[in-house]
Point group: C2
Chain length 221, copies 2
């Protein structure tokens, strides 16, 4: 069986978990305290990051490269369109969330409030938290603008772009940092993706010391 | 003709320039002062980053998504292998350089020494410069280890992974921050890639106030 070394609230790991689950690839999850950079873990991934996926007798790293690999080797159901323009738009949006959204929002809210404490690296920096809380509004508005033109973020079908976005937002929702009242379109989109069977394991996540709010796993939030 | 909005020393722009040149796609380069975040530029790319490529009547952003698009629409010469394992390895290494190497080295050396001054954001932080100078050694050793097993970074043929790595190293070489004596294997690899016609425009770059050292454009460095 495939094995995923992960950290439950990591959006990069969640994106891979969603891809695996949507493609019905069974996987055993192993919590990884990657920040301790143990020799054993660095042997699995010299980059020292999660996710690390053991599959098909190989050890794969880098979430975007893993998702493209899964798409090529386990093509059903497809999480990327077939045409180059559609594929470009998926990849652009995955990068938008994993780079820009991550730098401006996830690293400023989730990492300050949760990761720092879990890793024993002190208290949240309030300047960062304020900046993240400001930036997420702009990103939710951008998503609402996309969803006003399209059924899903990258077009008319659900793709990896939706999983990348849902991975970040679900991790932030675990700490109640998403204002779902800001946009009906974004809320409806999240309700659709949240109700998929692939999302169940994510809604069941529990971080010791950080109980999720009741709305987190509620499909009618 | 295609048009690329870029910053000459940006490794992300250089990776795209190398792909375009290797595929013999003519492009007009437009210097972009992206850090000023002009309204006109943000209209081209709401993410506010370079490169932005105008091609085939579209405006494309995110260097990795651009390179995958070019690979799909202009497949010759191929810069990715055909098999999923080979493609995975290329994508893993592109992410290694554009994420890990960028965070640990490029942002600590190039951005401190050049970008800060060009953008009028003060003086280099000596702690960052020291940390970058330390980290590049480890990365050169990792490259040497790969090249001891393979002709090119991702395998037996030249790929986007080599362009990603050469994009970062060439920008750092412009400010003499690469110790080519550290590894004969890495030096030979760089000599091979540097001598390609696709590299010419990069070797001709000039940043006002930062003249390149004589070895920068020398094929026999």
């Amino acid at each position: 069986m495939a094995q995923l070394y992960h950290f439950p609230l990591s959006p990069f790991c969640r994106k891979v978990r969603l891809s695996l689950a949507e493609k019905r690839i069974e996987v055993k999850l192993e919590d990884e305290r990657y920040w301790e950079q143990s020799v054993e873990f660095l042997r699995r991934n010299p980059a020292g990051k999660v996710p690390v996926l053991r599959i098909d007798g190989k050890m794969l790293t880098e979430s975007a490269a893993i998702c493209e690999y899964l798409e090529e080797v386990y093509p059903e159901p497809a999480l990327m369109p077939k045409d180059p323009d559609g594929r470009y738009e998926v990849r652009r949006l995955v990068a938008w969330f994993d780079d820009k959204f991550h730098n401006e929002v996830t690293s400023k809210l989730l990492y300050e409030r949760v990761n720092k404490k879990v890793m024993g690296r002190g208290f949240p920096d309030s300047g960062n938290v304020k900046s993240g809380a400001r930036a997420i509004k702009y990103h939710l508005d951008y998503m609402a603008w996309l969803l006003d033109h399209r059924r899903w973020l990258a077009g008319d079908v659900m793709t990896l772009a939706d999983f990348a976005a849902a991975a970040h937002l679900s991790s932030l929702d675990y700490i109640s940092d998403v204002d779902w009242n800001r946009s009906e379109l974004v809320k409806d989109w999240y309700a659709k993706i949240k109700s998929r069977p692939a999302f169940r394991s994510i809604l069941a996540d529990q971080i010791p010391g950080f109980p999720p709010p009741p709305h987190y796993a509620d499909l009618d939030f």
